[in-house]
């Protein structure tokens, strides 16, 4: 009897240990670091310097807002491309569903950095795409995409697309097709069936997809450093520089917490606005 009661705790122990060791401890360390003052030469003293946060926000508010903006745009691009993709694979994929999913994931067997660098060739001023358009006279000679904000956003969207497609696909794939048939029986046309039946059912997938793309894209630094130009710096780049180039650990840590806080606020208000629980009800009923 006793043993049986303990079993679930024993089973969950590895997960808790993992979280404690690799999440709680580092976060705690980081939090204490964000409240220190000093430099590498003199060491960092725990002074509970809250001013680090004011410094971080005051100096880098522009990069912070830009990161949220780029992350948001990339997420919207992911929805715009990913939703129809997931829809098509789930409803029209037929016997080849898993093949299409494999195709979707295939580029992601290549390293993240290399994938991003290959976009440089793709977006280059005289490259495959722009070069062709310029040869046809459809674009002015000086037109550039690489090293601009759209390049960074496209790169982000590309790199995180599967994280949007897969959750939406998972929801649509499990959906009972009779629901759509029932809608048609009740004289709804295809658009109304989509809006009133399919879309509500798929919203939890979209919600999960948004979480899985918005958070990492907002915090990313690779795309901005590889595809960005002037005035495209994201907050991830700043954190990276402060940690590794300037060894200014307190500022880096406090920016990290500011970003984390903003993302949490965003996510919670988003969850509220969307009313996920209601959406879940529709799904299960």
């Amino acid at each position: 009897m006793r043993n049986r009661k303990l079993t679930p705790y024993v089973l969950v122990l590895p997960a808790w240990t993992w979280l404690a060791l690799f999440f709680v401890v580092p976060i705690g360390g980081m939090l204490s670091l964000s409240l220190t003052t000093g430099n590498v030469i003199t060491g960092f003293q725990q002074t509970f310097e809250v001013g680090n946060y004011a410094d971080a926000i005051g100096t880098y508010w522009e990069q912070i807002l830009r990161s949220l903006l780029y992350g948001g745009c990339a997420t919207l691009v992911c929805i715009a491309i990913g939703y129809p993709m997931a829809y098509w694979i789930a409803f029209r994929g037929g016997a080849y569903k898993s093949t299409y999913l494999l195709l979707l994931l295939l580029p992601f067997f290549v390293s993240f950095v290399l994938r991003t660098i290959s976009w440089r060739f793709f977006l280059s001023d005289n490259g495959v795409v722009l070069g062709a358009f310029k040869d046809l006279g459809l674009l002015p000679e000086g037109f550039a995409v690489l090293n601009t904000a759209p390049a960074v956003i496209l790169g982000l969207a590309y790199n995180f697309l599967p994280f949007m497609v897969l959750p939406i696909y998972a929801v649509l794939e499990r959906m009972d097709p009779h629901l759509v048939e029932a809608a048609h029986d009740l004289y709804s046309d295809r658009l109304r069936a989509f809006v009133h039946v399919i879309l509500p059912v798929s919203l939890p997938g979209v919600f999960a997809g948004v979480l899985m793309t918005f958070i990492p894209t907002s915090a990313d630094y690779v795309n901005a450093s590889v595809l960005g130009g002037t005035h495209n710096t994201m907050i991830g780049n700043v954190i990276q520089t402060q940690y590794l180039v300037n060894n200014n650990y307190p500022i880096a840590a406090s920016i990290t917490f500011v970003l984390m806080g903003l993302l949490l606020i965003g996510i919670f208000s988003y969850a509220r606005a969307l009313g996920t629980e209601r959406v879940m009800e529709v799904h299960t009923s």
Binding site: V40, R120, D125, D135, A144, L146, Y249
Partner: protein
Amino acid sequence: MNNRSRAGIDPALLRGLTRARRSPLGLPGLTRRRTLQAGGAAAAALALSACGVGGQQRDPAADANFWEGKERTGNLRWANWPLYMDSERTQIQQFTEATGIEVEYKEDVQEAASFFGQIQPKLANEDDLGYDLIVLPNGFELAKLIELGYLIQLDHTQLPNFAEYAGEIYKNSTFDPGNRYTVPYASGITGIAYNPEFIDREITSIQDLWDPAFEGKVGMFSDPQEIANFGLLATGVTPADSTSADWEAAADKLREQRDSGIVRAYYDQDFIQPLTNGDLWITMAWSGDIYQQNSEEGTNLKFVIPEEGATLWTDNLMIPYTTQAPVDAIELMNFLYEPEIATGLAEYISYIPPVPYAQEVMLEWAEAEGDNERGDALREMAESPLVFPTEENYQNLHNFVVLPTEEQDGFSSLFQAVTQS
């Protein structure tokens, strides 16, 4: 301005992907300084979280009699940059043959700043780094290592080759006067490179980087010290003599260049590819990278030392105080200054050897080879001012700004505000 380079895929990439690596630097993009930053960053982050952050300064006086009674161990661990020696490790083989010392060579230095972030906590804890000898450029990291007392003072009685063969300019550096802690491994010039396919006039001045005709086609370096040097030269100030008012003015000048849309982006080391395919027409550049690109890929990129001057940087050999094999390390330092060895190294890496005599040796080798491919390459290299700058070139090469460590952070922030906009 013309479309010659408008190819779908860069031919250099195709060649690099398909052919055997006959030439050591055949794969474009893998220049010596190219790094997969993510790797270095991850390693440094791990080191950070594992060790906490200390900052104890060591008293270098503890090393007053450091060399007394130290003996050769027969094993040396050396951390260097990637592609900074051929893949056969010819010079190491020669060293082992000559001395019997086995060398464990690790291409672990990917980026000065992140490497510093990696070793600093260990040095503060007096832990063995796993390296007895490391290579770092003359930058803020080196200044910090010296100030923290983390480097061993060299015993110059054990460096006779350095005394005999090192060029005068390499014996009187501003960053380590008297070579107390370091000796140079190789040097390079930061100047201006441009692609004559797109620019059909002579480039002579740093002001050309501010020319509105090149709007959106100018590349600048993101490294705070490198870009500061160019901002200072553009405002007519010698970097080594600059004051904080000069830095402000230089930052303003650079900000103006950025905000008028002239700068395309700020690059750390990946400026070659955009320069060959026309995304950049003109950029700040390292001499050796341009030399390698031209000789390996047959491109015709131009490298100029502008009339205001360019900057000379040096990668240096140094021994961390936690070393297990100081004698072996200093023996290797000395060995690398043998002219034949220095010549062999320069032939592969295409950067400036600190041994000017290597030029003569290289010409002798070219003579011996005759008219074959290697002979031609050697001759061309020996005559290139990018690998063997002339007296006149050196007159026009500036040193980096040298700052006490407490001023470095402010300096870096000032110029990072320009590049990380």
